[in-house]
């Protein structure tokens, strides 16, 4: 079987573009995504859903090429579709069907023999926590249950790549946490790659190890969150009181990079040879009180905002 090794790219985009009508929705996308769990971030209208839809074969690829799991998206749709699970953003189910009937149908359509589909439909519904409700019609499910049913139908055939479009939409905090826990469980098994589209940074940060930020149909940044986490271990947030405002300059002379600077708050990226003790020394010299000092990594929010600003500033 042509299963790509874990280091292989899950999705490769080369000059990828999609046009709906006369308008280019996605343009010149180039990326090689290898993460176990890939987050698609971007403001509304950035093209996240269009990208997912095109990778699923709903839209034509109008420029460049895209490959998923080693298959060409435009030419090998049928082979790909059997290996992909999709949980759409909007409510999606077949009215009047029970949960088990619905998930079984989706399993059979993905190629499972009827008996296997039935067995796996039971398993998928138990996995997402709908075991007791599986004989109820999906119309009668609550919003949270419908989201779980959508996840179950996406999983029933054991896909190698799972697209989750806003999976926590409309969920209360408890249900949202359960959904994220399920996604993490799937990710941690390592046999199914995940593409999660969301505008909730926290969800993406919790689940994903690689992030693509889209803005106005282009890739604003591709970020390996794992690498970022490792690289930002010497990152400090400081809250200062007093002094003549030259603390940042003194820190910069030590080799620190000042990322955010106002009178009372600083974000410093410390070089390896500089420690917290050195900062206290500067503070003593400058007559500054360090009221709070917190070591933290660059949050996804920072990465996202930086990407948005960079794109705004770009020609």
């Amino acid at each position: 079987m042509d299963t790509p090794a874990i280091a292989d790219a899950v999705i490769t985009l080369q000059g990828f573009g999609v046009r709906l009508g006369k308008r280019w929705i996605l343009q010149e996308l180039n990326a090689e995504l290898k993460g176990r769990s890939i987050g698609l971030l971007g403001p509304n209208g950035a093209g996240k859903t269009t990208l997912i839809h095109t990778l699923l074969g709903f839209h034509k690829v109008d420029a460049g090429s895209a490959r998923m799991l080693g298959h060409d998206v435009a030419r090998e749709r049928r082979q790909l579709a059997a290996q992909v699970g999709y949980m759409p953003e909007r409510d999606a189910f077949v009215a009047g069907m029970t949960g088990i009937h619905f998930v079984r149908l989706m399993g059979e359509l993905a190629g499972l023999p009827p008996q296997v589909a039935l067995e796996r439909a039971h398993e998928a519904l138990f996995f997402v926590g709908l075991g007791e409700a599986r004989y109820r019609t999906v119309d009668t499910y609550s919003q949270g249950m419908k989201q779980m049913a959508k996840l179950a139908q996406a999983l029933v055939h054991g896909p190698r790549l799972l697209f989750l479009d806003e999976p926590t939409n409309g969920l209360d905090p408890g249900a949202r946490q359960r959904m994220l826990d399920l996604v993490k469980t799937i990710r941690d098994r390592g046999e199914t790659r995940i593409v999660l589209s969301s505008h909730l940074l926290k969800d993406v940060e919790t689940v994903c190890d690689e992030v693509v930020v889209l803005k106005a149909g282009r890739i604003a940044t591709v970020c390996d969150l794992e690498a970022e986490r490792r690289a930002n271990q010497s990152f400090l947030e400081l809250e200062l009181r007093g002094g003549n405002g030259h603390f940042a300059e003194a820190a910069a002379r030590l080799g620190c990079e000042c990322l955010v600077h106002n009178k009372r708050r600083l974000k410093l990226l410390l070089p390896p040879q500089v420690g917290v003790r050195d900062l206290y020394a500067i503070a003593a010299e400058q007559g500054v009180q360090i009221r709070r000092l917190q070591a933290r990594r660059d949050s996804l929010e920072d990465i996202f905002l930086k990407a948005m600003e960079e794109r705004d500033g770009s020609p």
């Binding site: 189910f93 023999p113 139908q153």
Partner: protein, 285 residues
């Protein structure tokens, strides 16, 4: 109680043939249609004319029964091409009603709750999806049209020695005649349902398509001194198409060629509308 695994695990077992996935759609749609009491009732009612036909054939070959019922052979319908033409014409009505009552249901449920992205994200094309839905309707309507008609031909052939040798051509006539109706009913009904997306409205519109539209055309014809309405009147189209198949004299002013053109245009139009409407995504305005 069955014990099921509560963990997620990938699937590496055998898969069904990709080109036969439309049959899954057809099987589930048929199950949905047959779960309705209305459908079962229509199937039962549609059996009565066929039973009547079977009784007539039986009586033709049982003089004792004729004597008991005090009937003469001359009083019975002759078992010839016209007999099977009438049977098929009569059975088109239950086929029409079955399509009207189930056709919209099997499609509208998918549209109503946005199920199309789920279907079409699987190894299934739009054509296969439509084929599956149409196949479910065709199976239902076959049960009341060509299948029982062929059984009646079989009954007659088994009772009258040598009859089949001279009437074998009734088999393709019944088959082709029935399929012209089945295909038209199924595709037009699905197209109307795909456009209107509300079951009751789609059912009403489907019935109206076959009767109200020709009536309106007839009114317009009065002003234009034309005779176009007959090209839109489905019973006339079927009659014109079937008479050469059953080797009967032409009985209305619409030629078989004209009827074939009307039928083809309707089928192509319905299929085009369906394929345009059946898509995984919609632009939300």
């Amino acid at each position: 109680m069955a014990v099921h695994s509560h963990v997620f695990h990938p699937y590496g077992g055998p898969r069904t043939a990709p080109r036969r996935r439309w049959m899954v759609i057809a099987r589930y749609a048929l199950g949905e249609a047959l779960s309705q009491k209305k459908t079962i009732a229509l199937l039962v009612v549609s059996a009565f004319p066929l039973l009547g036909g079977a009784v007539v054939i039986y009586l033709h070959h049982n003089l004792e029964a004729m004597k008991i019922l005090n009937l003469q052979v001359a009083q019975l319908l002759p078992i010839d091409a016209k007999f099977f033409f009438w049977i098929l014409s009569a059975q088109c009505w239950p086929a029409f009603l079955l399509t009207a009552s189930t056709g919209a249901r099997v499609l509208v449920n998918d549209f109503r709750d946005n199920a199309l992205p789920l279907y079409l994200s699987r190894p299934l094309t739009r054509v296969e999806y439509v084929l599956g839905k149409a196949a479910a309707l065709a199976t239902l309507t076959s049960l009341v049209t060509w299948v029982p008609s062929l059984l009646l031909i079989g009954l007659q052939a088994s009772l009258a020695e040598g009859w089949f040798a001279t009437h074998w051509w009734l088999v393709p006539a019944v088959f082709l005649g029935a399929w012209s109706a089945i295909a038209l009913f199924a595709l037009v009904c699905l197209a109307v349902a795909a456009v209107l997306r509300r079951r009751a409205v789609a059912e009403a519109a489907f019935v109206a398509m076959f009767f109200v539209v020709p009536m309106i055309a007839r009114i317009i014809d009065q002003f234009l001194h034309a005779r176009w309405w007959i090209r839109l009147f489905v019973p006339a189209i079927f009659e014109s198409l079937w008479t050469p198949l059953f080797r009967l004299p032409q009985s209305n002013e619409l030629s078989a060629g004209g009827a074939l053109i009307s039928l083809t245009v309707a089928l192509v139009l319905a299929a085009t509308i369906l394929l345009r409407r059946v898509k995984a995504w919609e632009v939300v305005r």
